[in-house]
Amino acid sequence: MIGFLIQRILQALMVVIAMSIIVFLGVYAIGNPIDVMIDPASDQALREALIQRYGFDRPLFEQYFIFMNNMLHGDLGESFIYRLPVLNLILSRLPATLELALTAMLIATFLGIPLGLWAGYKPDSLSAKAIMGFSVLGFSVPSFWVGLLLIMVFAVELGWLPSGGRGPTTEVLGMNLSITSLEGWSYILLPAFNLALFKLGLLIRLTRAGTVEVMSSDYVRFARAQGLSESKVVGLHVLKNISIPIVTVFGLELGSTLAFAVVTETVFNWPGMGKLIIDSITVLDRPVMVAYLILVVFLFVMINLVVDLIYGQLDPRIRVKAAS
């Protein structure tokens, strides 16, 4: 088990390092950041001074090692635009994105699993077919477009919910959160639902497929022959069995939810990390771009790692394999 753990952690580290090289070289290989930072009319001496200060005159690999060294000390550089340490900048936007992503995951889970269970329990019913149709839309229609529709219907036409922004926040444990107030909920509801749709479609499909498989298994037949009630059959056998793929997907999708938040945050003008990265790309704010990308990849890899470990805990067959 420990060998397995170490192997997985090493793999995760390799990925982060590889990605950091690609991102760093890729982002720094293009354009001239000095042009973004200073007034084109400023004199050559200032230019030289800045180039010196940021180390742009050194070879790329040296820049990379300096960057990595700084990063390990918690210094991810300074934004060219905001003139703030990148880490602080990104961390200040992190709660908004995390809040949005987690709310979206909760919506997807609490709608997706029951709907998928129903669709798998009564696969030939009309309602099951409607649910499956909805799930196809959920992951084939581009999410920014669904976001626009949501704004048009619920904000413009019906006027029930605000069209964007974050609304009032309360500070909880040093993080500003919306979900602590009712008004905050009115702001987060549309973007969270928008972000949830893809996951919702996926979860419905997965849950349905798992349910259909388990319901036709011999052990469900055996459980019914023991006189277990249908709710017990579903609650004990089906839920436990589908929990494995669902936890996997849930975990993996948490990472991609953070990535997809880029789109939702732009549509709903949600002041999170995603909005920050889009703004940074358009103005070529390299330190922010690099730090964001490396951070997201890091989060992603960590989540994959945790999912793998949980997976082993859930499925006794895998646990044995890993131990032997």
């Binding site: 023991q226 006189g227 009630s229």
Partner: protein, 339 residues
């Protein structure tokens, strides 16, 4: 036998298909008394397993019970629906399935599955349920039952798993246990242990067994009575010893002749020619006639149920004449009690 705990009367189970209704079970009748073991014998497709599922009301659409009755202690349970039927399943009639690899949920501990089975019928605490599960495991001869409760199915051998399944079936001291080919997937030596265990349980607890199998050798060593099924019908029934010693239906005779144990070594093993007919196009009259050496002109009409001495029956126009000789055994062992 008027003290039958389970009596099946003219049971009909059909499957709706595009080609029409397939009669998987077509007028099956039999009965089992307390503590007795009935062997329900037939090839695959003969309707023996469907009969077992029908008794528990576990037939799923497009299948349905189209007629007949299943009397449990005199009460017809085919009319029970929903929760009323659920309360019968597992409590009064339990079932054991063929493949012990598949009947236990691989991701749930044995204990979890057994506790759920106890609590499906009795409102007892988890702790009490666990104690009962433990006792049930001990009763079917599983060593260190406490440890087994903590195990996952894949940590047990096939024979152990089938014992667990039998223990689950025994949890509520049911009147009847339907066992659907429970030893087919096991090694012969394990099979022998389980058969002996089952015989002991039937004698001790008074539970009646319907033992569904294709294996005549198993039946001859275990069952008190035999029903032979062919194409959805019972073609022959009677006390096990008598039927094996002197079959009256040509199909039973053919099956018995093809059992190697009874056969002279070095000569060709006789087989029943042809194969089981498809339910979709059964021949007119006797379904076995095309494969039957004794078939005559009358066989194009539905054969009558012929009744013989000792409550034996055969569904045949031309039953075989009884042979009078010593009853013979297909295997050297017998698990039957001397009754």
């Amino acid at each position: 036998m008027s003290d039958a705990v389970l009596r099946v009367n003219n049971l009909q189970t059909q499957f709706q298909t595009r080609a029409g209704a397939l009669k998987a079970v077509d007028g099956v009748s039999f009965e089992v008394g307390r503590g007795r073991i009935l062997g329900l014998v037939g090839e695959s497709g003969s309707g023996k397993s469907v009969t077992g599922y029908s008794i528990l009301g576990l037939i799923e659409p497009p299948g349905k019970i189209a007629g007949g009755e299943v009397l449990l202690n005199g009460k017809d349970i085919t009319r029970l629906r929903g929760d009323a039927m659920r309360q019968v399943r597992g409590a009064q009639i339990a079932m054991v399935f063929q493949d012990p690899m598949m009947t236990l949920n691989p991701v749930l501990k044995i204990g979890t599955q057994m506790i759920a089975a106890v609590r499906a019928h009795d409102r007892v605490s988890r702790k009490a349920a666990r104690a009962r599960a433990r006792d049930a495991l001990a009763k079917v001869g599983i060593p260190s039952p406490d440890e087994r409760l903590e195990a996952y199915p894949h940590q047990l051998s096939g024979g152990m798993r089938q014992r667990v399944a039998i223990a689950i079936a025994l949890l509520h001291n049911p009147a009847v246990i339907i066992a659907d080919e429970p030893t087919t997937a096991l090694d012969v030596s394990i099979q022998g242990q389980i058969l002996a265990e089952v015989r002991r349980l039937a004698d001790e607890t008074g539970t009646a067994f319907v033992w569904v199998t294709h294996d005549l050798a198993v039946v001859s060593s275990l069952a008190d009575d035999i029903c032979v099924m062919y194409a959805g019908r019972v073609v022959e029934s009677g006390p096990a010893d008598d039927v094996i010693a002197s079959p009256r239906h040509p199909y039973t005779a053919g099956l018995l002749a093809s059992v190697p144990a009874e056969h002279e070594p070095g000569t060709k093993l006789p087989q029943v020619p042809g194969s089981t007919p498809s339910l979709a196009n059964l021949p007119q009259g006797c379904a076995f006639a095309p494969r039957c050496a004794k078939a005559g002109p009358a066989c194009t009409t539905t054969p009558p149920v012929q009744h013989f001495e000792d409550g034996r029956t055969a569904l045949c126009h031309y039953p075989i004449e009884p042979v009078s000789c010593q009853p013979l055994s297909l295997t050297s062992t017998t698990y039957r009690s001397a009754s």
